[in-house]
């Protein structure tokens, strides 16, 4: 701690803190303009100049550390002159388009003019007037409004890590330029811009900021669930913002948070219930639709199955399982998590007693080492990417990336382990063995915490390191280096994603990762942990609410599991499932989608509760229009185990109804005694979301039996998330299309050459299940021998090619 005096008042603050922070502690406001708390200080604007006793020159409060005995004056005639003149200079040739400037009303330059009493312009210079940069999708740059505070550059580099923005040119001609290929269209540059330089094109000229009402809510695009403000007016969401100081995500958003909301008002939104009569789908009243649904479901009774989508809230999830279980007497309910996150959930639950991943994603940012395994956090969970940025860029953490695809985070990796697709689990095993061999495992902790530690040791002792390295296609020295870094770190965060757990061989890989988590110490201490990412929306909440045939609300095992996802499919095919209730789930976007299509065509009674008109709603007997997250209340649970509220910022569009209301209405009609009050549902959600802090009793952790691996051979089709199509609803996002117009087939340039493919050319992919045609994207981040196709992008449904429950398949690729 250091003690200093500011404007005559004494303050103590930790060593290294700035004068600005010390003043804030005293409640003294020093004016700032370029200062942005979440990035390193820039010191560009000089407005925070203060006088320090003993120093002739003014010092900038934002980047001068407070030192012992300092005496600081924050207001003086000299300082006023400096501040005023700097602002006068900033206004030289600043355009006078404030009335139509997008920042009007929330412009920090306006504010500083006002607060510093800048009322004249003594300076003049030739107007460089650089042209507006209009060629970037979604974001417009108006350089003559720029004050070059570099907030955008710094947030892009230090927080998001895309490092796309930079200062180009010298002197008065300097402007913010962009390496477009690196841009992630997260909009953080727009969010932090103090003036109208960086502008959101979709928002431009749509609303004045003072007309907008900010409603605090939660983004449900991915499992990270950032805290946001929906900016609304007249029943419409105009933009999404997030506050730096009060949110878990420090105000940072990704593309989906900032731009991806536009599906809310997509023309495809369902605004009326629909009924299919005589093969024709017709608009119907709610009463008619619900009556038809009740009739059909009652008829099927316990032969009804239900599939929920992860856009349902916890309350809706709870009501959904109540409808199936208590209303219809059916335990055939499941969600898409079955072939993804539920595999992880089951393992973490049985081996470690954890109900999902480690609580608090912030523990990634403070870990001493991070292992990213079979994951692309940039696309699967951007907020986790930002945590890795914090750890690796600012926290001196060692970053190990074990991935087939060359993800963005490789730029910062200390050890890149570019492994063959499907070999991530083998890599985990090899790392665990190496850490043990190097004597870097905490043996006392293992002995105390792991009940079957001898099995763990025996299993790892049987790992053939050389063979494992060969299987992964990774140099043994690199594996050893990674093991040294993970082993030496006092805390380790393991981030695993869809490439690891979405394929059918995930069991072996997950067991290996779980054992690595034990050996590396990821489960010990207050930092790090195990972080499964990639499950969208409220997947964690659905599992907590028992939306699975084998889980009860609260996460306990169901004593008599019903049919799971695959069982439901088979049940329909065999005629044993008569009715299917889909709430926010679209099996046409599941793997083996062609088979699902047949099943959906076959099932006697199909109810679809959804947002968007699609091929799916065309098949339904009853369509019940639900609402987006912006139109409903409720809670969701993040992959970091945080319970967050949604707020109905706008009323439901058209005649659509909140999903909870639909489910409750159905339950009331089918089984009135089973209906719970809103308060009772909320209480159930609270109960089912309670998770004790992870503090396993001695011997409570279990090493997992190691299953054998089958590493698939090339060429291989790999499906995963694309950042711009985070969820199925994004398929109708115009903003997403502005960046990625349609689905694509990412091909390694070397493979493309041997297949005769050009960038943008058409390619035909074939698997045992059929073939599809798409546009080739030559992409060096895709490894040779792999074609990567994103899930649920417009115009290309890769799921037709993939067998049920997996995201990989042997493939043939040919030029069309």
């Amino acid at each position: 701690m250091v003690k200093l005096k500011i404007d005559g008042k004494v303050v103590q603050i930790e060593k290294g803190a700035t004068i600005l922070a010390a003043a804030a502690k005293l409640g003294i406001v020093i004016p700032t303009l370029c200062f942005l708390k979440k990035v390193s200080p820039t010191g560009a604007c000089r407005i925070c100049a203060v006088d320090v006793a003993g120093a002739d020159k003014p010092m900038t409060a934002c980047n001068t550390p407070a030192t012992e005995g300092m005496e600081i004056t924050t207001e003086s005639p000299r300082l006023q002159v400096i501040r005023r003149q700097v602002v006068e200079l900033l206004l030289v040739n600043h355009p006078l388009d404030c009335p139509v400037c997008d920042a009007g009303g929330e412009c920090e330059l306006q504010n500083i003019c006002y607060s510093q009493d800048v009322t004249r312009q003594p300076f003049a210079a030739e107007d460089v007037n650089p042209p507006v940069i209009d060629g970037w999708p979604l974001i417009q740059q108006v350089p003559n409004r720029c004050i070059l505070c570099e907030k955008c550059v710094k947030v892009c580099h230090e927080v998001v890590g895309s490092s796309a923005l930079f200062v180009n040119n010298k002197g008065d001609r300097a402007f913010i330029d962009k390496d477009l290929a690196k841009c992630e269209f997260c909009g953080n540059c727009v969010a932090v811009c103090p003036t109208g330089t960086m502008i959101s094109k979709p928002f431009k000229f749509k609303a004045r900021c003072w007309d907008l009402t900010k409603v605090a809510s939660t983004c449900t695009s991915c499992g990270s669930q950032c805290q946001i403000d929906l900016n609304v007016k007249n029943g419409q969401v105009y933009r999404v913002t997030s506050d730096d100081d009060t949110t878990i995500n420090n105000g940072t958003l990704c593309f989906n948070g900032f731009f991806g909301y536009d599906y809310i008002h997509a023309p495809q939104r369902l605004l009326q219930p629909q009924l299919r009569r005589d093969g024709k789908t017709q608009v119907a009243s709610w009463d008619a639709a619900l009556t038809a649904a009740v009739d059909g479901l009652r008829r099927a009774g316990s032969a009804t199955a239900g599939i929920a989508g992860n856009r349902l809230t916890n309350e809706e999830g709870f009501l959904f399982q109540a409808l199936l279980r208590n209303g219809l007497g059916s335990n055939h309910l499941d969600s898409e998590a079955r072939f993804g996150m539920q595999r992880v959930y089951a393992l973490l639950s049985s081996q470690f007693g954890m109900a999902g991943g480690t609580a608090n994603l912030g523990r990634v940012g403070v870990a001493e080492a991070v292992l990213v395994l079979g994951a692309d956090p940039t696309a699967e969970a951007p907020a986790v990417d930002w945590q890795v940025q914090v750890a690796a860029r600012k926290g001196d953490a060692k970053l190990v990336v074990g991935n087939a695809r060359r993800i963005k985070l490789l730029r910062q990796a200390n050890v890149p382990l570019l492994c063959r697709p499907g070999s991530e689990g083998v890599l985990a095993l090899a790392l665990a063995r190496q850490i043990l061999d190097l004597g870097l495992a905490d043996q006392a902790w293992l002995q105390r915490q792991v009940g079957n530690v001898d099995e763990l040791r025996a299993q790892l002792a049987s790992v053939d390191l050389a063979a494992a390295a060969a299987t992964c296609g990774v140099a043994p020295e690199l594996i050893a280096e990674a093991a040294r870094q993970l082993g030496a770190a006092k805390s380790v965060a393991i981030v695993m994603g869809g490439d690891l757990y979405r394929n059918q061989a995930a069991g072996a890989a997950l067991a290996a990762v779980a054992n690595l988590a034990l050996v590396s110490g990821a489960l010990a201490g207050d930092a790090g942990g195990i972080f499964p990412i990639g499950a969208g929306g409220n997947t964690q909440g659905l599992l907590d609410m028992g939306v699975a045939c084998d889980l009860l609300p609260g996460g306990e095992r169901h004593p008599a599991p019903g049919r799971d996802l695959n069982g439901i499919l088979v049940g329909i095919e065999q005629g044993e499932i008569k009715a299917l209730y889909l709430a926010g789930a679209n099996p046409l976007l599941f793997a083996d989608s062609a088979r699902w299509r047949k099943a959906l065509e076959k099932v006697e009674f199909l109810v679809v509760q959804d947002l968007l008109a699609s091929e799916l709603t065309a098949l339904a007997h009853v369509v019940l229009p639900g609402v987006s997250f912006a139109e409903k209340n409720g809670t969701v649970t993040s992959s970091g185990q945080r319970l967050s509220p949604l707020a109905a910022a706008i009323p439901p569009l058209g005649a659509a109804r909140a999903d909870a209301a639909i489910l409750a209405d159905l339950l009331a009609r089918i089984a009135p005694p089973a209906l719970l009050t809103t308060e009772a549902v909320a209480a159930e959600v609270q109960r089912c979301s309670q998770k004790a802090p992870f503090a396993p009793a001695p011997g409570a952790l279990r090493a997992s039996p190691q299953l054998s691996f089958e590493v698939p051979s090339a060429p291989l089709l790999l499906a995963g998330k694309d950042l711009y199509y985070a969820a199925a609803v994004n398929i109708v996002s115009a903003n997403a299309r502005a960046v990625v117009p349609s689905g694509y087939v990412a091909v390694n340039p070397a493979d493309a050459q041997s297949w005769g493919l050009a960038d943008g050319g058409r390619v035909r992919l074939g698997t045992t299940l059929g073939s599809i045609e798409g546009t080739a994207r030559l992409d060096a981040t895709t490894p040779a021998g792999v074609v990567f196709v994103p899930f649920h992008c417009p115009d290309l449904n890769v799921q037709q090619l993939l067998p049920a429950g997996t995201n990989v398949a042997p493939v043939t690729a040919a030029k069309v």
Binding site: L90, E158, V167, D172
Partner: protein, 639 residues
């Protein structure tokens, strides 16, 4: 301040003005604008026009725009001066200039801040000229040419003239790649110079005038290590082949540097070296605990990856003659180092005693190359430089129980880096100061001790250090089994003996080169590093190698070796110096210099593991944030 316009003949020589009166072969120097003010040598110089041009170049070529007063203020200044020169000025413009000059004192760095100094001087001392312009009585009379250059005290002091503020800023901005790229513009072996550079730059660091100098060297290591610690590949790509072939003799710092910059220009470079590995003195003269050789090898590998061929075990004068090289290559660079130990001049030195080493540098080399030498229990090393310190510390690692350094002056006068002396002490090296060997004591042709005489320090000599004088009768004997003289090295230029190449040598037996081009008197043969300067530092060798490559490139492509404007200005500024140790910086200090962690204790002397450990990057950022970014622009008017 000397103003002799109104007569009064100030003796220019007495001003110790280090400004040459001609600039290259382009003309006479009319005036000089610098961060401390202006020098007008030619009365005819239009200082107003020059001030306008100076401010224009500062704003358009150098102003980084990363602080508001600098970006906009120098623009307003440029336009105001431009208006005056265009005959559209007003007297109030002079007030604006003076006002802005004041405001620019709160700039983020010193670039724009110092640029107002000469301009303000013109307004003050040439006010009548301004008023003549403003009254419309004057038309601009610009100089034939203006030449300007960006510098900084550290950058100027660095023999390789690395853009230090740029790379420190890279670290500060979490952009190690950009930091490294900035370093590599002048220095291709940053992992080496980030470790073993004597960092003269830090003696010219303005931060030292506030609290402590920036850890410039260590920040260079951070940038260099970041690349390999992240398995990143260096981004450099050579230009298209020129078809020219260059031979570089010696894979030491000078040769590697020269090869690197020539290869980037597209020339086909081959290096020959008498050793079996790259690095020259760095490899075999600096022990691994200071400079791990795998990192040195990586630097050489990076250079080789640019298309440079390196042949080891080939010695000039033994395996190939300079004449042959001249015939086979379009140009030759000699970077043959200084490997010949200086004799001590004591009795018994030439007797061929067992236990008398041929020299510190040879001892270090033998150990480095794993030659079968045995280090006995008691070792005496004579000398006070880095080589001597390296020898006593290596002797400990080679099994000596007692390692004694004998130096004729006191600790304070030792040329070795003070921290290395401290390190040696921590490892239990014994120091015998103020004694000088007089006689080797041998029994059965085997060294058993050294007779030394006590010294007292007298008046300072040419080097500024007090001259040691022996105290008659104070002799005594220090018993030992091995004596290693380490009092300096000379270049071995015997390869010049087999023919008259017309290459002149200095009186210190080093190669003479001309006018900063590093070309010898034999056109097409260049030289640099220790063989040119005498045993000096790695960073001097790097500076030589780069300068030579630049001149060689022009020799190869234009047939003439000469300095370009950048280099001429570099040398011009260097004669001035850019650091004023008496400057009152006027800012708040109190921030301590960050140090990299270090393996402590004498136990480290049992192995060759690197002693200085990597500085965590967060700490490096903190250190970089202390940098004052002391950029400044100098300009000359050439008439």
């Amino acid at each position: 301040m000397v103003d002799n316009r109104a007569g009064g003949e100030a003796d220019l020589a007495s001003l110790k003005l280090k400004l040459a009166d001609t600039y290259l072969d382009q003309g006479k120097v009319g005036a000089f604008f610098g961060w401390d003010g202006i020098v007008v040598l030619d009365r005819a110089t239009d200082v107003v026009a020059m001030a306008a041009e100076y401010m224009k170049r500062v704003q358009e070529n150098y102003c980084c725009a990363r602080c508001s007063p600098g970006k906009k203020g120098t623009r307003v200044l440029m336009d105001t001066l431009g208006r005056i020169v265009a005959g559209k000025g007003q007297e109030s413009d002079l007030v604006t200039i003076e006002g802005l000059a004041d405001l620019l004192q709160s700039c983020k760095c010193t670039l724009c801040m110092t640029s107002v100094v000469p301009v303000l001087d013109t307004v003050k001392h040439f006010r009548d000229d301004y008023l003549a312009y403003i009254r419309g009585e004057r038309r601009p009379a610009p100089a034939k040419a203006y030449r300007e250059k960006l510098t900084a005290p550290c950058m100027d002091r660095c023999p390789a003239h690395i853009d230090i503020p740029a790379y420190v800023e890279g670290i500060k901005d979490y952009r190690a790649d950009e930091a490294l790229a900035a370093i590599r513009r002048n220095m291709p072996i940053p992992a080496v110079c980030g470790r073993v550079c004597p960092h003269p730059c830090e003696k010219a660091c303005r931060r030292a005038l506030v609290d402590e100098p920036i850890s410039i060297m260590v920040l260079k290591r951070v940038a260099a290590d970041h690349e390999w610690m992240h398995h990143l590949l260096p981004p450099m790509r050579p230009k298209a082949p020129t078809g020219k072939k260059v031979m570089v003799v010696g894979a030491g710092p000078a040769g590697l540097t020269c090869a690197y910059y020539l290869a980037l220009e597209g020339h086909k470079v081959k290096i020959i070296d008498m050793l079996s590995e790259p690095g020259g003195t760095v490899a075999v003269g600096i022990p691994d605990y200071r400079m791990p050789r795998p990192l040195l090898q990586r630097e050489a590998d990076i250079i080789a990856a640019l298309g440079v061929e390196i042949a080891y075990g080939v010695k000039l004068g033994r395996d190939v003659s300079l004449r042959q090289l001249k015939e086979q290559y379009d140009a030759v660079f000699l970077g043959t180092g200084a490997f010949k130990s200086k004799p001590m001049g004591v009795e018994g030195e030439d007797a061929g005693y067992e236990g008398f080493s041929t020299g510190g540098i040879n001892y270090l080399r033998a150990v480095a190359l794993g030659e079968p030498i045995v280090t006995p229990k008691r070792v005496i090393v004579v000398g006070g430089g880095n080589t001597a310190i390296d020898c006593v510390r290596v002797a400990l690692r080679e099994g000596a129980a007692e390692s004694i350094l004998v130096y004729r002056r006191s600790r304070k006068e030792m040329p070795a880096e003070p921290y290395e002396v401290d390190d040696a002490e921590e490892e239990h090296v014994r120091f015998e100061f103020l004694v000088n060997p007089t006689r080797l004591i041998a029994e059965n042709n085997k060294i058993v001790g050294v007779e030394v005489v006590k010294m007292v320090l007298g008046e300072p000599d040419a080097s500024g250090r007090r001259r040691p004088e022996p105290q008659a009768g104070s002799e005594y004997i220090i018993p030992c089994d091995l004596v290693i003289p380490a009092i300096g090295q000379d270049p071995d230029l015997s390869y010049l003996e087999d023919g008259d190449y017309g290459i002149n040598q200095t009186r210190w037996n080093s190669i003479l080169t001309k006018n900063g081009t590093m070309m010898t008197d034999n056109a097409g043969v260049f030289a640099g590093g220790d063989c040119e300067y005498g045993a000096m530092t790695v960073v001097v060798a790097v500076g030589h190698g780069r300068r030579a490559a630049s001149a060689m490139h022009r020799y190869l492509t234009e047939g003439k070796a000469y300095l370009n404007d950048d280099e001429a200005m570099e040398d011009l500024i260097n004669r001035f110096g850019a650091f004023d140790e008496n400057e009152q910086v006027g800012i708040a200090g109190g921030l301590h210099r960050e140090h990299q962690p270090k393996i402590a204790g004498s136990a480290r002397a049992q192995n060759y593991e690197e002693i200085e450990l990597a500085m965590p990057e967060s700490q490096a950022v903190r250190e970089a944030e202390r940098c004052l970014r002391c950029y400044r622009v100098a300009m000359v008017a050439v008439n």
